[in-house]
């Protein structure tokens, strides 16, 4: 029964990684950049929810909605101020800027909220599920994480493949100039991508902090990196890939922690990534990129 317990925990954690990984994958697919500040947007979302619930006294779901709005605005602003001026620059310049934005957000949070972590009150207020006469207890946070991530992946796939804005995102992802010639506003499409990714980061923040209720200015950093690993693992640029990668990383991490070594759990995650990239460089569901000659 312990195995089943670990598996459920792994799937739940993996679902949260999946939601974060979607942000990486969308922005990478469309803007062709690694937004390393993405994890910190999760932390900002967490603090917005915390403030709204604890200091303002709002309902948890309203707080999540406010955090989504705040993170969406934050994401668009980061893109406008930090990344857009570098559209013609080298990838390295953009990457370093993203790391800079990451530290900037962490330090702003440090100034506002201090270095002492706060205890986050779960946004999910539902009973837990007990199976097999109490041998397995599934926390409502775990169920919520799984359901929310599935809904997001399905919704996002439909949005990208079935709507006009989604089709514009696919076109921009493949060929920016050709997309312009179709009448697509490329800058607006990139803004939309950051808006969606950051809105999802707020949801991820709500789920993450509800399951692991300690919130500090570096809360987003490690899950951010692991979700990035998940995105690469699943095939960066692919929406179902983010889901598959997220779930696998979550399960590997929890099982590794339980059966191999709690200290080595993170190392195992990265080791698996290295092996996958050696065997299959485009990730599990990644498309082979046909470089134009």
């Amino acid at each position: 029964m312990a195995f089943l317990d670990y598996l459920i925990n792994g799937i739940s954690l993996g679902s949260i990684y999946a939601v974060i990984a979607l942000g990486y994958t969308l922005v990478y697919g469309i803007a062709k950049m690694l937004n390393f500040a993405h994890g910190d947007v999760i932390m900002v979302g967490g603090y917005v929810i915390f403030t709204m619930m604890s200091n303002v006294g709002l309902n948890s779901y309203v707080s999540v909605l406010i955090a989504m709005a705040a993170c969406t605005v934050l994401g668009i602003t980061i893109e406008k101020i930090a990344y857009k001026p570098l559209r013609q620059s080298t990838n390295l310049a953009v990457l370093i800027t993203a790391i800079g934005v990451s530290y900037f957000l962490q330090n702003i949070a440090l100034i506002i909220f201090g270095e002492k972590p706060v205890t986050f009150k779960s946004v999910i207020d539902l009973p837990k599920i007990t199976l097999f006469d109490g041998q397995i207890v599934i926390k409502s946070e775990a169920i919520a994480s799984i359901i929310v991530s599935v809904v997001i992946v399905v919704g996002l796939s439909l949005f990208v493949n079935k709507t006009k804005s989604g089709r514009a995102m696919l076109a921009v992802s493949e060929d920016k100039d050709a997309a312009r010639l179709m009448g697509i506003n490329v800058n607006r499409t990139i803004s939309l991508t950051f808006a969606i990714g950051s809105g999802l980061a707020a949801i991820a923040g709500a789920l993450l902090c509800s399951s692991y209720p300690v919130l500090s200015n570096t809360t987003g950093a490690m899950p951010g990196i692991k979700a990035f690993v998940a995105a690469v693992f699943g095939g960066i640029g692919s929406i179902p890939g983010a889901m598959v990668g997220g779930l696998l990383i979550g399960v590997i991490e929890i099982l590794g922690r339980a059966y191999i070594s709690p200290q080595l759990a993170d190392a195992i995650v990265f080791a698996v990534l290295i092996i996958v990239l050696i065997v299959r460089p485009t990730g599990i569901l990644g498309k082979k990129v046909n470089e134009k000659v």
Partner: protein
């Protein structure tokens, strides 16, 4: 007044001047050919026209509106569609999605459906392959898709960049037949071609570009008999 009026247009790539003050005009209903060797500035001209490249000096006026300050995505809506060099279709999307993207600026559902039918009639192979991923089409089919995609914006004017490039002689003739039929439907065509002979045979007028300058212009039927043109571009 002409539909399109280009005056003293200069374009730079960094410090290199690609267009050195060219002027030309296109009247409604015409097929205009822009011919010249590699690197003469033909593609640069089209890219500047549709807003992909910025102009340094000069003006481009389309139906009374200045285009040099208009972003590319708005120019499509004004009625200019661009069939780019090398087709630039969206390889990973289906044929149908490519055509839908061609109609991106339009919101008239019925009109779009009507034009889709027209394009399927003109290019029956695109209808057969509409659910296929565009990257799996043959070169000729991809060129037809690029043309169909451009027509989906219901343009007043289509600019085409080397539509016959890399195609077999039979397909080249087919492409030029299609260009003629597009003109017959009332769409103005600005055609850039290395296949000068074919281009001059269907064009009304033509301009010859040499290293960023227009060196010759006139009726296509006159140019095709011009001694210099025959030597330099028709290989005679």
């Amino acid at each position: 007044m002409s539909m399109l009026e280009v005056k003293d247009l200069s374009v730079y790539y960094g410090v290199i001047q690609a267009l050195k003050g060219i002027s030309f005009s296109v009247n409604e209903g015409e097929v205009i050919a822009l011919i010249g060797a590699n690197g003469a500035g033909k593609t640069t001209t089209l890219h500047t026209l549709t807003g992909i490249l910025p102009a340094r000096t000069g003006s481009i006026v389309f139906e009374g509106t200045e285009l040099t300050k208009t972003p590319a995505h708005k120019i499509v809506k004004m009625g200019i569609a661009h069939v780019p060099e090398g087709r630039r279709i969206f390889q990973q999307l289906t044929v149908l999605d490519n055509l839908k993207l061609g109609a991106f600026t339009r919101n008239d559902k019925d009109g779009i459906a009507e034009d889709m039918e027209k394009i399927y009639k003109r290019f029956p192979r695109l209808e057969e392959r509409k659910t296929q991923i565009a990257g799996t089409l043959s070169g000729g089919e991809q060129q037809m898709l690029a043309m169909g995609r451009a027509l989906m914006s219901r343009p007043k004017m289509v600019v085409m960049d080397e539509p016959s490039m890399g195609l077999s002689p039979i397909l080249v003739s087919e492409i030029f037949d299609i260009i003629e039929s597009i003109r017959k439907d009332g769409t103005t065509v600005l055609l850039v071609e290395q296949n000068a002979k074919k281009a001059l045979s269907i064009a009304d007028r033509a301009y010859v570009l040499e290293t960023g300058r227009i060196t010759l212009s006139g009726k296509a039927s006159d140019l095709i008999n011009d001694e210099k043109v025959r030597k330099a571009y028709l290989g005679e």
